[in-house]
Amino acid sequence: MKVFIINGPNLNLLGTREPAIYGTKTLEEVAEECQAIGAEVGIDIQFRQSNFEGQLVEWIQEAIGTADAIVINAAAYTHTSVAIHDALKSYDGLKIELHISHPHLRESFRHTSYVSPVVDAVVAGLGTNGYIHVVEMLPNLLSKT
């Protein structure tokens, strides 16, 4: 099985950017943990990050027909991107929206998500551990969908 974990803008700065909100772990460390758990349970984790909206759209399109699930932290594009909304709509597999913080408890401009209405599930506010918990649960989620 193959799962894309797609990360949006500024997540490459994880660990140094506003650590009080996002934690001290780097994205590389999170990716390694996810891949290690994936290897244990037989899931190929494709962990990616881009600051470019179009690149995120292309990865979602690439997932069509090739990936069993998409886990997406679209970061700031969550609140602006109709393009990501539309791309996700075209993907039929399991879709999980992930956020390190809890956007609904932050500034009001983060309260609207173009991602939430077109995914199956939303996980937020669990810190970078959110990635770990979602990956741990993937075999269970994919076996029944």
């Binding site: 009080a20 913080s101 809890h102 998500s113 209405p117 599930a121 939303v122 996980v123 506010g125 770990i132």
Partner: protein, 154 residues
Amino acid sequence: MVNKTILILNGPGLAELSAGDDRYGGVTLEQIQDECTALCAELGMKLEFRQTDDQDEMFRWIASDSEHFDALIINPAGYPKSGTANSELFRSAVDMIADTNKPLIEVHLTNIFRQGGERSKPLPGTDGQMGFVCGLGLKSYLLGIKAIAKRLHS
């Protein structure tokens, strides 16, 4: 880890979940309770699992009973959408938990942001003090329990 106890509170209507209702994953509250109890046991934790349709009772549980527990999971069902006063009451109750630094996670069976879903709103609160999981069916609860176990461990 042993002797940690999680309190799970379920809001209005959740006692009426039925196996035949696919909107909510076709699970009953008893099934949810059984799976949560099993996972907690596996993780060396105890579980208190409650449901109420009565809003005052819900606030009482959050505001006073929660002091006897190490972590809290709330499925508020449709509460937060039903008015501002309500929302403020929730906010004060939730802030009280947050002040004690106990893990607190809101869960929903369905994706509440999806059209045709519960059309609820997330509980109010302060970022960094509350987790949120929706749309995984009864696995929303299981993910919440795992997240709490990890936090209480570290």
